[in-house]
C-alpha cells in the first residue's frame, strides 16, 4: 500500500518525467539541454523522496498497531536543544554576505548551509524514529557518523595543512625551519605532558588545545593575508638561450649538470670532448669509428650523450637552421669526466659545438 505522502511524491515524480519528455520533445530531442536535465533531476529526486516516504510509511504508525500507539513519535517528548538551526542561520547569513562580497565566502556558506540542513533533517527525523531515546540517538549515529567522521577529520587535516603551509610560505627559509621544529616539539611536549600519570584537568586540556588551534589557524590566516615571501624562479638553460653560447659553467644554472642515463641503447651517438680539445662522435651503427659528421632524420627526436673528457666544465650546444630559423639547444655545463644528456629535434642541418672551442665542430646533416 502506498502511503499518502509517497503517493503525492510519486505523482510529482511522474509529472516531472512527463513534463521532461514533453519538453525534450518540444525542444527537438535536446536531451542535454538544461531544462530537460533539470526536469529529469526533479523526477529522480521526487522518486527518491517518495521511496524514502514509502519505506518510512510517512513516519506514521498504523492505527491497527495498538501497541505502537504508545511508542509513536507523536507521543514522545520533544528532542533536546540543537545547534543545527543556528548553523543553518549562519549559512544563510554567509550566503547573503558572500553574494555581495566574495564568491569564496558564498561557496563556503553553501557548504555550511547544506551540512546544517542535512544534520538538522536527520536529527529531526531520528527523534521521531521510535519511542526510545537511546534507540533514536543510535539511529542518528548510524546514519551520520559515516559522514561526520571523515568530513570532520578531513576538515581538521585541511585546516592544519592550510595554516601551517601558509605560515611557512610567509616566513623566510631559516625561520620556517625553526618554526617547523618548534611547532612539532610543542606537539610532542604537550602530548607527553598530558600523558603523564597526573592528568591535567579536562578543562585545562581543552583550553590549551583550543588556544593552540586558534593560534595556529590565526597565524596561518594572518600569513595568508600578508602574502608570502618572494620566491624567485630558477634560471635554466632553456629560459635563456644565450647560455648555450656561454663558455664555461654558470653556478646557478648549471647546478644540475651531471646526468646519468640509465638506458644507453636509445642514443643516436655519444659525443666526446677529448682532452686534446677535439670533439668527436661515436655514432651507433659505426661503433668503432670516431666521426665528425652525424646524420639525423628530420624532425625525429635525437638523443645524444655528451662526455666531457677535457679538464674544465663545458657544455654541448646544437645549433640548427639559419637566420630566423636558427635554434639553439644545449646541455648544462658538465664538470670534467661527467656526462650530460641532450635531446632535440632538427628540421634543418647545423652543427654540434662546444662554446669557446675553436675548430672542433661536428657537422649535423639533416637530409
Amino acid at each position: 500500500m502506498f502511503t499518502t505522502g509517497s503517493k503525492l511524491l510519486f505523482g510529482a515524480s511522474a509529472l516531472s518525467l512527463v513534463t521532461a519528455l514533453v519538453y525534450a520533445w518540444s525542444t527537438e530531442g535536446a536531451l542535454s539541454s538544461a531544462g530537460t536535465l533539470g526536469l529529469l533531476s526533479l523526477f529522480v529526486i521526487f522518486a527518491f523522496l517518495g521511496g524514502v516516504n514509502y519505506a518510512n510509511r510517512d513516519c506514521n504508525v498504523s492505527s491497527m498497531d495498538e501497541a505502537a500507539v504508545d511508542t509513536a513519535a507523536a507521543a514522545q517528548r520533544p528532542g533536546a536543544s540543537s545547534v543545527w538551526p543556528a548553523v543553518v542561520a549562519l549559512g544563510i547569513a554567509g550566503l547573503v554576505v558572500g553574494a555581495v562580497s566574495k564568491p569564496a565566502v558564498f561557496k563556503v556558506a553553501v557548504v555550511v548551509l547544506l551540512a546544517g540542513l542535512v544534520e538538522w533533517m536527520v536529527l529531526g527525523w531520528s527523534e521521531r524514529a521510535g519511542g526510545d531515546a537511546a534507540f533514536n540517538a543510535d539511529t542518528r549515529r548510524r546514519m551520520l557518523h559515516p559522514l561526520e567522521f571523515p568530513v570532520l577529520g578531513a576538515l581538521a587535516l585541511g585546516a592544519i595543512v592550510y595554516a601551517f603551509s601558509r605560515l611557512m610560505l610567509r616566513l623566510d627559509k631559516d625561520q620556517g625551519r625553526i618554526a617547523f621544529g618548534v611547532v612539532a616539539a610543542l606537539v610532542l611536549a604537550g602530548a607527553f605532558l598530558f600523558a603523564g600519570k597526573r592528568k591535567p584537568s579536562k578543562r585545562a586540556v581543552l583550553g590549551i588545545s583550543t588556544v593552540a588551534a586558534i593560534a595556529l589557524l590565526g597565524a596561518g590566516v594572518a600569513s595568508a593575508l600578508q602574502g608570502q615571501r618572494s620566491i624567485d624562479e630558477h634560471p635554466t638553460t632553456r629560459t635563456d638561450t644565450e647560455v648555450c653560447l656561454q663558455v664555461g659553467a654558470d653556478e646557478e644554472i648549471d647546478a644540475d649538470a651531471t646526468q646519468s642515463v640509465s638506458a644507453t641503447s636509445n642514443l643516436v651517438a655519444n659525443i666526446y670532448l677529448k682532452a686534446d680539445g677535439s670533439l668527436v662522435a661515436h655514432v651507433s651503427g659505426y661503433p668503432d669509428e670516431a666521426r665528425a659528421q652525424l646524420t639525423v632524420p628530420r624532425r625525429a627526436q635525437v638523443n645524444l650523450l655528451f662526455h666531457n673528457e677535457s679538464d674544465e666544465a663545458q657544455r654541448l650546444t646544437a645549433r640548427t637552421g639559419e637566420g630566423e630559423d636558427e635554434s639553439l639547444v644545449c646541455t648544462a655545463a658538465v664538470e670534467e669526466g661527467d656526462q650530460a644528456f641532450l635531446s632535440f629535434q632538427a628540421v634543418r642541418g647545423g652543427v654540434l659545438l662546444v662554446p669557446g672551442l675553436v675548430g672542433g665542430e661536428i657537422e649535423l646533416l639533416v637530409p
Binding site: 524514502v52 518510512n56 521521531r128 521510535g130 526510545d132 548510524r142 644528456f341
Partner: protein, 653 residues
C-alpha cells in the same frame, strides 16, 4: 512501559540493515561466499558472451582478403576490447568465481576471512566491467591494443576517451582483484580446518593461493603504469612523451612486469581444476602431489623474471635479451613437470570419461601445444620472426582458450552438481566438449601457419597479393579459422542450452556423483549457508576418499573397498554438528562503496565535480562499513519482538 520496550524498527525503513534470506536483497547485499561466487560466475559468463561476440566479428572481418565487415577504427577497438574483456572480465573473474565458491569448502571453513570485503570485490569488479564497456556508447572504446603501448596511447595519438575508460576501468577492476587476493590468502592461511596442513590442501586451493600472491604483487605495478598514463592523459604529465626525453620502453617494462605474471594468474586456476578432476575420474591420487604444488609455486616465482620476453624485438640490447631468453626456457621445466604428472595420474588408473574428464584431457593436449609453441618463442632470435604475428596469436590462444578456458569448463561440469544440486547433462556436455575442442584446433591451429607465412596480428585487412598458394594459402587458412571460431561459438551455445536444460529438466543429482575425494563433497549439495554443520577434522590428503574407502585384505592381496558412502559420512558429520554457528550479516556498504568508484572515474573523464561526489560516496561507504558491526543488531530484523522467529532466521541464505 512504552519507553523501555524494544524500538519499533520498522520505522528505520530503508536504513535498516539488510537481513533478508530470500529475494533480490538477499543477493545484492549478501556476504555469503557461495552467492558471491555464483554472481562472479554469472557476470563472467555474460562478459564471455560479449568478448566472444567481439571475437566472432574479428574473425568475420578476417575471413576474406580486404574485407569490409568492420572499419579500421572499429576493428582496432574490437580487438582491444576483445582481449581486455576476455582477460580481465571473463577468465580472471571466472577463476575468482570458482575460488570464492570452493576455497572455503575445500579447506573446511564456514566463509572467507572477510565476507564483506568479498562482496566489495565482486561489486567493484562488476561496476568496473560495466564502466569499461560503457565506452562503446560514450565516444568509442579503447583502440590501442590490450597492452596499450605508449606513445600510441597518449592523448596526442589516441584523442578519444576510449583509452581513459580503459585505464580507469582497469584501475577499478584491479582494486577488486587486489582486495580479493588479500582476502583469499588470509582465508587459506588462517581459516583451515583442524588437520588441514598446507601439504594436505587440494591442488586447486594451492594454485589459487599462488595466483593470489601473484596478483598481490603484480597489480601494484600495473597500477603505477596506469596512474602514469592517466596523469599523462588527464593532467598533462609527460611520462611517455618522447619530446620531453621520456623513454617509451618504461611503459613496456611496467606493463609486462604485470603482464607476464598475469599469464600465470590466468592459467594456474585451471591447472588446479584439472588437478582435481583427473584424480577423481582416474580413481587415483594425483601423481606427485608435492611436485605439482612446488612446480606451481616455482612457476609463480620464476614468472616474475621473464617479463621482457615480450620485448625481444623492442631493442633492449643483446644482454637483456639473452638473459630473458634463458629465463623463459627455465620456466618451461616446471610446466613440463605438470604435464607429465597429469598424464601419469591417468596411468594405471580406472578412467571414467565424463564431460569434465574430457575437458581436462583436452586441456592437457591443447595446453601442451601452446606450451611447445611457447618454447619456440623463448629462443629470442626465432621470436624476432614470430612475435607480433599470428603465430603468437595461435600460441596464447592455445594457452588461454585451450588451457585456461577448457580447464574452467572442466570445473563447470565437475562442480555443477555441488553448486546447484543438479548435474549438467552428460550428452550435451560431450557435444559441448567436441565442438569446442575441434573448434579451438580449427581456429587457432591454422594461425600457426598464418603467422609463419607472415601475417601480422592486429591488421584490419590482409591483402590478396600476400597470400601464397597450396598448403600455405593465407586465404584458405583464414577462412578455416573463421569457421573454427563459429564452431567454438556453437559449442558455447550448447553449454548455455545445457545450463537451461539442466535447470528445467534434470533431476536432483546424488550427493557424491563422481565418487570424489576432497572436502567440498563432504557436505550437502548445494551446501548450507554455513557450509559444514561440524568443521571436519582432516587426517589426510583426499580426506573424503579415505573416509569412504578402506584397505581390505582379500585372497588376491590388499584391495580397496568402499566401506561407507558419502551420505553416511555426511550423516556422521552432521550428527556431531555444532550447536551454535555464527555467520556475518549482509551489508549495504560494499555495494555503496563500490558504486562510488565508477562515479569517480566518470568524473575524471567528464567533470571533476562528479569525481568529488564519487569520492564522497566512497568515504561514506568506507566509514559506514568501519562503524558497522559485522553482525546485525536485533533491531534490524523485521519482528524483533518475535524471539522465536529470529532464532530460526537464516540471515545469509
Amino acid at each position: 512501559m512504552a519507553l523501555t520496550s524494544p524500538a519499533p524498527s520498522r520505522s528505520l525503513g530503508a536504513f535498516r540493515r539488510p537481513v533478508e534470506a530470500t529475494g533480490w536483497k538477499s543477493w545484492v547485499f549478501t556476504v555469503d561466499h557461495k552467492r558471491i561466487g555464483i554472481m562472479y560466475g554469472a557476470v563472467a559468463l555474460f562478459f564471455f558472451l560479449v568478448g566472444g561476440t567481439e571475437a566472432l566479428l574479428i574473425r568475420l572481418q578476417l575471413a576474406a582478403p580486404d574485407n569490409t565487415v568492420l572499419g579500421a577504427g572499429l576493428y582496432n577497438e574490437m580487438f582491444t576490447m576483445h582481449a581486455t574483456t576476455m582477460v580481465f572480465l571473463f577468465v580472471m573473474p571466472l577463476a575468482a568465481a570458482f575460488a570464492n565458491y570452493l576455497l572455503p569448502l575445500q579447506i573446511g571453513a564456514r566463509d572467507v576471512a572477510f565476507p564483506r570485503l568479498n562482496a566489495l570485490s565482486f561489486w567493484i569488479f562488476l561496476f568496473g566491467g560495466i564502466f569499461i564497456n560503457t565506452s562503446w556508447f560514450l565516444g568509442g572504446a579503447a583502440d590501442g591494443g590490450w597492452f596499450m603501448y605508449s606513445p600510441n596511447s597518449s592523448g596526442l595519438f589516441s584523442p578519444s576517451h576510449g583509452v581513459d575508460f580503459w585505464v580507469l576501468g582497469l584501475q577499478i577492476v584491479g582494486i577488486a582483484s587486489l582486495l580479493s587476493s588479500i582476502n583469499l590468502i588470509v582465508t587459506v592461511l588462517n581459516m583451515r580446518a583442524p588437520g588441514m596442513k598446507l601439504m594436505r590442501m587440494p591442488v586447486f586451493t594451492w594454485m589459487v593461493l599462488v595466483v593470489q600472491f601473484l596478483l598481490l604483487f603484480a597489480l601494484p605495478v600495473i597500477t603505477v603504469a596506469l596512474f602514469l598514463l592517466s596523469f599523462q592523459r588527464n593532467f598533462g604529465a609527460s611520462f611517455f612523451d618522447v619530446d620531453k626525453g621520456a623513454d617509451p620502453l618504461l611503459w613496456q617494462h611496467l606493463f609486462w612486469i604485470f603482464g607476464h605474471p598475469e599469464v600465470y594468474i590466468i592459467i594456474l586456476p585451471s591447472f588446479g581444476i584439472i588437478s582435481e578432476v583427473l584424480p577423481t575420474f582416474s580413481r587415483k591420487p594425483l601423481f606427485g602431489y608435492k611436485f605439482v604444488v612446488f612446480s606451481g609455486a616455482t612457476i609463480g616465482f620464476v614468472g616474475w623474471g621473464v617479463w621482457a620476453h615480450h620485448m625481444f624485438a623492442s631493442g633492449m640490447g643483446p644482454v637483456s635479451v639473452a638473459a630473458f631468453s634463458v629465463a623463459t626456457m627455465l620456466i618451461a621445466i616446471p610446466t613440463g613437470v605438470k604435464i607429465c604428472n597429469w598424464t601419469l595420474t591417468m596411468w594405471g588408473g580406472k578412467l571414467w570419461f565424463t564431460s569434465a574428464m574430457l575437458f581436462a584431457i583436452g586441456m592437457i593436449v591443447l595446453f601442451t601445444i601452446g606450451g611447445l609453441s611457447g618454447v619456440t618463442h623463448a629462443v629470442a632470435t626465432a621470436d624476432t620472426q614470430q612475435t607480433d604475428t599470428y603465430h603468437i596469436v595461435a600460441h596464447f590462444h592455445y594457452v588461454i582458450v585451450g588451457g585456461a578456458v577448457m580447464g574452467l569448463f572442466a570445473g563447470f561440469y565437475y562442480w555443477w552438481p555441488k553448486i546447484f544440486g543438479k548435474a549438467l547433462n552428460e550428452r550435451l556436455g560431450k557435444w559441448n566438449f567436441w565442438l569446442m575442442f575441434i573448434g579451438i584446433n580449427f581456429t587457432f591451429g591454422p594461425m600457426h601457419v598464418l603467422g609463419m607465412q607472415g601475417q601480422p596480428r592486429r591488421m584490419v585487412v590482409w591483402p590478396d597479393k600476400l597470400t601464397g598458394e597450396g598448403y600455405f594459402d593465407l586465404a584458405f587458412w583464414n577462412e578455416v579459422a573463421t569457421w573454427g571460431a563459429f564452431t567454438i561459438a556453437t559449442g558455447v551455445s550448447v553449454f548455455l542450452w545445457n545450463v537451461w536444460y539442466t535447470h528445467r529438466k534434470a533431476e536432483v543429482a546424488p550427493l557424491d556423483p563422481w565418487d570424489a575425494r576432497t572436502l567440498e563433497w563432504m557436505t550437502a549439495s548445494p551446501p548450507k549457508a554455513h557450509n559444514f554443520d561440524a568443521i571436519p577434522n582432516v587426517h589426510a590428503l583426499d580426506e573424503l576418499f579415505h573416509r569412504k574407502y578402506e584397505e581390505v585384505d582379500t585372497d588376491k592381496g590388499v584391495r580397496l573397498k568402499k566401506t561407507s558412502t558419502a551420505e553416511e559420512v555426511l550423516a556422521a558429520e552432521e550428527a556431531r554438528g555444532d550447536a551454535h554457528i555464527h555467520l556475518p550479516s549482509p551489508s549495504y556498504w560494499p555495494i555503496v562503496l563500490a558504486f562510488g568508484l565508477p562515479i569517480i572515474a566518470y568524473g575524471i573523464i567528464f567533470n571533476l565535480i562528479m569525481a568529488f561526489v564519487g569520492a564522497a560516496i566512497v568515504l561514506l561507504g568506507a566509514f559506514g562499513w568501519v562503524l558497522e558491526p559485522s553482525v546485525a543488531e536485533p533491531g534490524d530484523y523485521e519482528s524483533p519482538s518475535d524471539d522465536h522467529h529470529m532464532k530460526e532466521l537464516d540471515p545469509v541464505g
